[in-house]
Amino acid sequence: MMNHIDLSSVLRQTVACDLYSNLVTRPTGAAVRDQIERLLGDAHDRTLTVIDFSQVSMIDFSCADEVIAKLLLRYEADDPPRDAYFLFRGVTEEHWEAIEAVLERRGLALVLEQADGIHVVGTLSSEERRVWEGAQQLGRAAPAELAKALGAPASDVQRSLEALRRRRLVMRVGEEYMVVGAHRVG
């Protein structure tokens, strides 16, 4: 199942004011994250949620930490509330500085949807990045197939894929894996 969350709408509901289009301050960020989680609570067990920044003017460091970092941390924990995955859309230069800083500080990564396709950004080991990009190339693949394509031992690739799944960067479909957002682009 797929959700679409327009952050500017969530922001307006949260601060109860139509004038604000800036994601600033920790209390605002925490309230926006709570609202996102409430919306996720209505969803089925496995969901892909598009978090859309298109109508957000700016986000500051504190708010990025509350909205993005804490959301990702909760869902990549050992006992996530549900099997949720996130694709971030509409992220521009104006948002990136704060997002990049919190990803770096918390050692997190996320999947961005941009005009030229999907990209994984943030903190990843070189092996994780190689496997993610390999999986992206194949679209949907079993670990053995991906290992063959990468010329790497299947057990190593399997381990990396599981690590990426825990980090909400790839989804497991039966015995196969696909990167988050893979089906969104041709």
Partner: protein, 305 residues
Amino acid sequence: MTTVVNVPPSLDDYSFDDVLRQLMPVSPDTKVLLDARHVRWASPFGLTALLTLAQTRAEMPALAVPELEETASYWARAGFFRHAEELYELHGTYPKRAGAADSNVLLEITSVSKSEDVHDVVGRIQQKAQLMLRELNLDAKATVGFAMTLSEICQNIVEHAGRGGWVMVQTYRWTKRLGRRVVVIAVADAGVGFRQSLETAPGKERSDRWDDAAALEDAVIRGVSRFRDPGRGQGLAGVRRYLGRWDGKLAVRSGTARIAIVPNWDDDVPLAEHLPPFPGAQVQVTIPERAPSQPSPQASARTKR
């Protein structure tokens, strides 16, 4: 009995210490009269710090307003008297109405005490900041960082001060030091200050050298916060990164110390200790006009791998 304190003719972050020095021997519950009659110029730091100073006095202080009409008129346009009327007994003549807005005042003195105030400040500054930064030859990329900087510094009041503070943003030509225009953000509060705030951190152990200067080094240089959460402390770190990119200066005063991230164009000391005490925290950000020959800095790694 009332103690008279002379306010220097040019009131900025340095000369404000003269005011504080005169107050050192004066007990907080002694009535004071700040004599600002001969003030000709005040920076955003000077104006916000004057308001903050009034909050630190047990008895409402008096303020003799600048005699120079031009100065009093500017203070009115900056919104100073609107707030000062509630904090000082004002003596002398000053414009009761602010009159036409001053194009150099990007954000008149605004009180900040809660998260909504930060939203309001950021919303108000955005459009003006774009025009102003263009005038300073800073490209559009600087605008968002500027608003973020303003937001993070104001949040320090909401999160740590324990009481409200003030913010003001202004541009002016800084002839003496730089010979170029600058935009200045001044944020001041009379709250608990950095040292006391960090002392409330769970498990905080005080080193042999634990004072206002050490607390400022922890917070500004090392990104230490009173919260255990590792995501805290990013605000000032982000502000430093932004200012590094645009050749800006950050100065933070708290208690008896002042720390500064000093760019090449300035000769300030990185750390000043044993200053006359002033409660709370006072932050000043200065971004200079970009000389036409200076290349624009690289954007951060962009939204790409």
